[in-house]
């Protein structure tokens, strides 16, 4: 069996940019992705940058794919990886097609969406906000006539706008009802606090509104206490912090949701139930690193809240404690596609250095690591206000591993 210098799992911005770096050093790379199109979650992203330009993920993906193709990169779509086995100092990557041998493996599987389970959420017509993004912008199919978004966070706000651009109507964005799982997502004060701390970055009026209260906890408290009953409009769609969806109703598919008023602490105010007819529902629970494959191959994990949950331990060079296994992109923590892309380059170069031991590559790695930081500092979309602290946390964990 042919042994690849590197098998890259995931053809998002991280995986593709890593492949490009490796091919530039003339190494033998195979990129594997289970989605029918290359580009990962770039496909579907559509944001207005503060300078008024649009970040069109489909075009950004195209650029990366074209560059990788020009370098004769071998890339497979519609192939799922379900196991990585260590064998004689190398790896066997198991897929639903066949197995591939590799001297190095880069796991760049990205993120998945956290569930906000509320009664009725399994009805056809209920989907994640990301599902609606892909259906709308990639497949160009309408998810419904008029819907509601459950969850108020950065991704919800970004994709709500995308639905509106495509001519799909939204009743509002509201919180999920409080239960054991929805917890933080259902608490007006916590939602407000998180929004307010990332507000200065975001181009959306909702987040700018939050930004006014950024500095002072008491101001956030007041903002939540006196939050308008009819919500605050963003692109003519109300954002509710004092209304929650308690239940999704329907027999064969979504017909309506039951909405209630809630206190500033997220408790239901009795007698406020209201039935709202909608034909689709988007659940926006936030993102977490999709990291199972790193666990399977023996990489240790640490829970780092600002990074989005359990992340594989790694250092700034994207190495894990398992020699030959690398990670890059959202698997290492939830950040924008630009950061993922920059991390991919670091990972590709780190693998190239392991293969060639060339001092010039060392220099390139240093530069690429700086690029990750600059990209992070200039990010226009940030998923957690404490991202930099989270990064320090996980890198320190790597050193702990090395030093026993």
């Amino acid at each position: 069996m042919q042994k690849h210098d590197a098998v890259i799992i995931g053809a998002g911005p991280a995986g593709l940019n890593a492949a490009i770096a490796l091919r530039k050093h003339d190494l033998n790379v195979l990129v594997i992705d289970e989605f029918p199109h290359l580009g990962g979650r770039l496909l579907g992203q559509l944001h207005e940058e503060p300078n008024g330009e649009w970040w069109n993920g489909i075009k950004e993906a195209e650029k990366l794919v074209n560059e990788a193709k020009a370098l004769n990169t071998e890339m497979l779509t519609n192939v799922s990886v379900h196991h990585i086995q260590r064998k004689d100092g190398a790896f066997v990557v198991h897929t639903n097609r066949k197995n591939y041998e590799a001297k190095n493996v880069l796991i760049a599987t990205g993120a998945a969406e956290t569930a906000n389970p509320i009664p009725g959420w399994t009805l056809p017509g209920v989907m994640t906000i990301g599902a609606a993004q892909v259906m709308t912008n990639v497949h160009r199919v309408r998810v419904g006539e008029k819907g509601i978004v459950i969850g108020v966070n950065v991704l919800a706000a970004a994709i709500a706008r995308e639905l509106l651009l495509a001519g799909i109507r939204l009743h509002s964005l509201a919180l999920p009802i409080n239960n054991a799982v929805t917890d933080e997502q259902s608490h007006p004060k916590m939602v407000m606090e998180r929004l307010s701390r990332i507000a200065h970055l975001a181009p959306s009026p909702l987040l700018r509104f939050g930004g006014k209260f950024a500095k002072y906890k008491w101001a956030q408290n007041i903002a939540v206490s006196f939050y308008p009953k009819k919500g605050i409009n963003m692109w003519d769609v109300p954002i509710h912090l004092r209304k929650a969806v308690k239940e999704i109703n329907g027999t064969e598919q979504v017909e309506s949701v039951t909405m209630v008023d809630i206190t500033k602490d997220g408790e239901i105010i009795p007698g406020t139930e209201e039935e709202i007819p909608v034909d689709f529902v988007c659940i926006a629970g936030g993102l977490y690193p999709l990291a199972e494959l790193a666990a399977v191959v023996g990489v240790p994990f640490k829970y780092v809240e600002p990074l989005g949950g359990h992340v594989p331990v790694h250092n700034e060079k994207m190495e894990t404690p398992v020699e030959g296994v690398y990670v890059a992109g959202n698997i290492t923590g939830i950040e924008s596609a630009k950061v993922a892309r920059a991390q991919g380059k670091v990972a590709g170069l780190s693998i190239a250095f392991r293969m060639k031991k060339d001092a010039a590559i060392q220099k390139e790695i240093e530069k690429a690591m700086d690029e990750v930081k600059t990209t992070r500092d200039n990010a226009t979309i940030q998923f957690h206000p404490e991202i930099a602290r989270g990064r320090d946390d996980i890198h320190a964990q790597f050193n702990k591993y090395l030093n026993g």
Binding site: E34, F35, P36, H37, R41, L46, W54, N56, I58, N78, S80, H83, A112, E113, T122, L123, P124, G125, V126, M127, T128, G130, A131, A132, V134, M135, T136, N137, H139, R140, V141, R142, V143, L165, A166, G167, E252, Q253, L290
Partner: protein, 127 residues
Amino acid sequence: MKRNRIIEHPILDQLEERKTVTFQFDGKTLTGYERDTIASALLANGIRTLRRHEHSGAPRGIYCNIGHCFECRVTVNGTPNVRACITPIEENMIVESGKQLPSPLNPNNEHVPKTYREYMEMKDGEN
């Protein structure tokens, strides 16, 4: 199928004319576009229910649309548990919705792998 498509868009390119692909869902002949997944082609045809829950019989459709949750599992050309949301449609493909089963949770009912080793052995047995 066109009625549910987003053709014009203020920022993205206009949806280009694509080749149509004919496939079957539960015996009905439907058309979608090249590059459609089973899930997107079905939704374009107004179909949201992809299966019945094996145990309760409750209707289920897509949830994540990117291959993570397995809510969209259907049978494709005789192969069960295929994710409709990441599987492209092909000419004459036969897609069947998932059905309610008599007692799906009984582990003695049929051979289901309980460990990865068992799974690999079953897979090797197929080839």
